[in-house]
């Protein structure tokens, strides 16, 4: 017998917000030059040592915030897509948006645009994401069912992946190839507030569109036909979720490159605390995704190695076993989530 506990989840959002803030503070304090908690307070308020202030404000804080933002965008998109598609395996990647964002960035690197104009790569990623989101949105409006939508996403994803491979294949020199591969592994190293300023608003608009579908996603627990009967505007919900996820995931790829598994595992981690409800899972999934990625990035920085570990690699190394564990325990408990 499975009893659904919801009471436990009452303070979930608050706990995840506090956890996220603490993780960001921790990220600011830890590193090659550890900063004492008291000095950290001084550095953040600007009253302490100027050199420490620079480390915190120019390097560690934007990096931690970028990690949180990307994690939150991926967690939110994953939760929304799992709710819309009623499929525990859905994640932003299924729409093909992430791959097209990568393609945009890779094209910018390929043509050497990044050496002339630094944000070219991010702008390329955003344009790639918007293009794919536009196609998905058109499909969401005109196609009658959600399965066709997934198939379009898979097709887009394959096409984008082939074009990325083509760009790698034709890379003019080893440095370009190295840049492309390195970017695609996913990282928030050396991100600035300017980078966040470019992707942040796109992610925020996406998040707002997704959050507008909260009740609709709850209704979709009962299937599309029932949700339709309940008074849900299915086309509008599909449109909001796909465009919202396109923007949020596209913005996150623009900021950090491709980072897998956060979108797929975060909703599973929070679902037991929200009574399984996909609408209620949205906000905690975003908060948990942010927290997880800040912690993963601290891990990426602290593991001693010649080349700094890429965040995307660390996230996958942690995420894949967690995913396997969820998949295995799901069968044992018979939970539909």
């Amino acid at each position: 017998m499975t009893v659904v506990k919801r009471r436990r989840g009452e303070y979930l959002d608050s706990l995840l917000i506090i956890g996220g803030l603490l993780a960001i503070l921790l990220a600011c304090g830890l590193g090659e030059t550890p900063i004492h908690p008291l000095d950290l307070v001084g550095a953040i308020t600007g009253s302490g040592d100027p050199a420490t202030s620079v480390i915190v404000w120019s390097i560690r804080l934007p990096r931690a915030l970028a990690a949180w933002l990307v994690g939150a965008a991926l967690g939110l998109s994953g939760a929304a897509l799992q709710g819309l598609l009623r499929n525990p395996l859905a994640e932003p990647g299924v729409l093909g948006v992430s791959v097209w964002a990568s393609l945009g960035a890779v094209i910018a690197i390929y043509y050497g645009l990044t050496s002339q104009f630094a944000p070219a790569m991010q702008i390329g990623a955003v344009l790639g994401a918007l293009l794919a989101t536009g196609v998905i949105a058109l499909a969401a409006r005109s196609l009658g069912d959600t399965v066709s939508l997934i198939l379009i996403g898979v097709g887009l994803s394959s096409l984008g992946g082939a074009l990325v491979s083509l760009a790698l294949n034709l890379a003019p020199n080893p440095f370009t190839l190295n840049d492309m591969v390195s970017w695609m592994m996913g990282s928030v190293a050396n991100r600035s507030f300017a980078d966040i300023g470019l992707s942040g608003p796109i992610i925020a608009i996406g998040a707002a569109l997704i959050l507008a579908t909260r009740r609709g996603l709850s209704a979709l627990s009962l299937g599309e036909e029932t949700a339709h009967g309940l008074g849900l505007d299915l086309v509008r919900t599909r449109l909001l979720v796909t465009v919202g996820c396109g923007l949020a995931a596209g913005g996150s790829v623009a900021l950090a490159g491709a980072i897998g598994f956060v979108g797929i595992i975060t909703p599973h981690l929070v679902r037991p605390w929200v009574g399984g409800d996909p609408g209620r899972a949205l906000v905690p999934s975003a908060l948990a995704g942010g927290l997880l990625l800040v912690l993963a990035d601290i891990g990426a920085r602290l593991v001693p190695s010649d080349n700094e570990l890429k965040l995307g690699v660390v996230a996958a190394l942690i995420g894949a076993p967690v995913f396997l564990w969820i998949a295995a325990s799901r069968r044992r408990t018979g939970l539909g989530a």
Binding site: T2, V3, S221, L222, G223, H228, G231, L232, L335
Partner: protein, 258 residues
């Protein structure tokens, strides 16, 4: 004015005609069984009544208004719908599943108001789900799940309720209980239309029966007038007869014709 009405409704899928100038009405206080062989257009007729199925010609009216003029929320407040396919995607609680019935009232939000809560509690009581309230829907038996869906539909407190095979895959006792809940809904002034395959069950509980075949109404009226051996033979190709005993008249279904 009828709660719901189809007038000369035509629905086509490609070249195939699913509903062929079908007339169908539902009044307050009646429990109507919509019966007919597989593929006769029963589900399509319900969906057309709800405005979920666009008509090639004819009209669908809800409370006297053309469904095409109604927004999804207005429509859902007038008619609750229990579709045939009832997947449960996540392990939500019985209480939360029933509360989704309040979606059109804004009460599927995560903080139900007192009116929503009262409707949910009443539906849970009517379907005998109080002991299961906190259980996950994914761990319920077929009979329990059918009651959850019924409660969800009742919680809407809509004037009309359309239920597509709510008794499918249930044992005789659970079938009878589901029909009793629907009959109760009709007795307090609701209009209920239900698709059932068990003609004897329909004959025993429903006030009116509409028999359709090939998207056309074959007969419409009281159970005894509609479920005649001739009509049943014409619609299903099986024999049937009525049997009189001390408990009343019962419909007995027989073997296939010839």
């Amino acid at each position: 004015m009828s709660l719901l009405a189809l007038h000369q409704a035509v629905v086509q899928r490609g070249k195939r005609v699913i509903l062929d100038h079908l007339d169908l009405t539902l009044e307050a206080g009646e429990l109507v069984a919509l019966v007919g062989p597989n593929g006769s257009g029963k589900t399509t007729a319900l969906r057309a009544l709800l405005g979920l199925m666009p008509l090639a010609s004819g009209t669908a009216m809800i409370g006297g208004a053309d469904v095409r003029t109604l927004g999804p929320i207005t429509r859902a407040r007038q008619v609750a719908y229990l579709p045939q396919s009832r997947p449960m995607a996540w392990a939500i609680s019985v209480q939360d599943a029933v509360a989704l019935g309040r979606f059109a009232h804004g009460g599927a939000s995560h903080r139900p108001n007192t009116e929503d809560q009262a409707a949910v509690d009443q539906a849970i009581f009517a379907c005998d789900l109080e002991t299961l309230k906190d259980r996950a829907v994914t761990g319920l038996s077929g009979g329990e799940l059918a009651r959850v869906h019924m409660a969800r539909a009742l919680a809407a407190n809509a004037p009309a309720l359309l239920a597509d095979e709510p008794t499918a895959a249930l044992d005789p006792l659970h079938q009878w209980q589901v029909m009793q809940v629907l009959a109760q809904q009709a007795s307090v002034g609701g209009g209920v239309m239900v698709v059932v395959h068990d003609l004897a069950l329909a004959a025993g509980v429903c006030s009116r029966i509409v028999l359709i075949k090939d998207g056309k109404v074959l007969a419409n009226g009281s159970p005894q007038d509609v479920l005649t051996p001739d009509n049943i033979a014409a619609a299903y190709g099986v024999r049937a007869h009525w049997h009189q005993d001390s408990q009343g008249r019962h419909l007995i279904m027989g073997a296939a014709l010839g």
